[in-house]
Symmetry: C2
Subunit: 266 residues, 2 copies
Amino acid sequence: MSAPPPLSKQTSSVPLHFALLLFPSFQALDVFGPLDALNTLKRQYPSLPLQLSILSPTLSPVSTFPSSTGEHSPAFEQCITPTHTYASPPPAGTIDIIFIPGGLGTRLGPADEEGWKPLVSYLNTFFSTPSAVKNLKGIFTVCTGSFLLGRSQIPSGNGSGGSRGTLDGVHATTNKRGFLRAKEELKNVLWEPKARWIRTDLALPLGEGEVHKVKLWTTSGVSAGTDGVFALIEEEYGADVAEFIANILEYERTTDPKDDPFAVEL
Amino acid sequence: MSAPPPLSKQTSSVPLHFALLLFPSFQALDVFGPLDALNTLKRQYPSLPLQLSILSPTLSPVSTFPSSTGEHSPAFEQCITPTHTYASPPPAGTIDIIFIPGGLGTRLGPADEEGWKPLVSYLNTFFSTPSAVKNLKGIFTVCTGSFLLGRSQIPSGNGSGGSRGTLDGVHATTNKRGFLRAKEELKNVLWEPKARWIRTDLALPLGEGEVHKVKLWTTSGVSAGTDGVFALIEEEYGADVAEFIANILEYERTTDPKDDPFAVEL
């Protein structure tokens, strides 16, 4: 077993505080592929003060597939304990990376109010709070998590006091089975039909014509999130670190973001 | 979006009840790669009464990395809610597949008593209860989960009333970074240094010279569990079903159990 390679940047400049935004009926692997790579980073670099906050509409455990609907009994679900609610989140200005997974719970429908809507409201508040935005380093979405980011609003930044879709005019990708729904619902997003993930910059208005640029990773469906998080680890902590962690997890990475065997033909 | 293909067997003969055996400091992806494939199976086949029990030493949420040790604060952990304790498990004879993940919590050391030991004691009791054994269809281990199975005992079956290691003389694999520890600790297991996973039969003594054969999948480290579960799905529910689920998860399977880029040289 080899020793961990040095980080490519100073500890003071790498992302340390990740905020996972959950909702009922999230897709488990969207969450745990990326998180387990970060769990392993934390274990291998114990002096790095990595921190994870898990936000949810309430403090009750959040299910991958709530059995309370009664539709699919007996239960085949896993429940995760949140650390914060959207009404009582970590202090503005402490979050470095926002992580939004996807899953059936992102769908439009009757469960919206208790489901994904509190998450989108939280994003709207976050994006209109300059002290929160200024500290943010990046946003990472997996699968239909990009729908939720696309439903949130940022200040239009033209002095009108209005707002616009966070992903309007931005290159992004999503689950390929949900691709047509994405194009239909969020028409102003530049959806890419062939991408394991997309890494672009996102300009968040701070007011008075100022913007703060953050890194944006949107990944394709479920398993693509794991390749996406290794791209994040490579960019933020170093290529050797990403390779080291992937070897521990015996994970065969897709390292080319355009290598997408699940691409859709339009 | 295509319709789910038919199962290759009658519902009455496929595994329905999975029991996940947890312990503190389990590896998240060991658990959630396989479970998310099964979650998706459940969602795509809602009439299939798949069921998941999650066993743990207590009913408190089980952490991937208990922050209470104080060693690695701030916290970077995820906590899962169990459904049963080892002292109060699902009724003997209802479990079809036992699923044992790995992780740091499998290590020998001071945390044994509250950690993995209750899991191994549960297995010992299970394997000496013919009504439980008779219903069992298979055992699935990921990563160092095979250490835990290897530490359990089955009746020796020679009428002596004695017992022997469950994996003694059995082909199995494990995490490749833990491979030398495996060979050192469990010398009678036929450890394979090059295997993404191993599928073999395991004969469990029922007493009076009778044995009950179950299917055994042991997989290599962490991510290998996801390839392993697709092998299980292929064998138990059908090759078309496995491909269908993998496509939904946008997962690129390793389908050859001997294709192991992380193999160790001995």
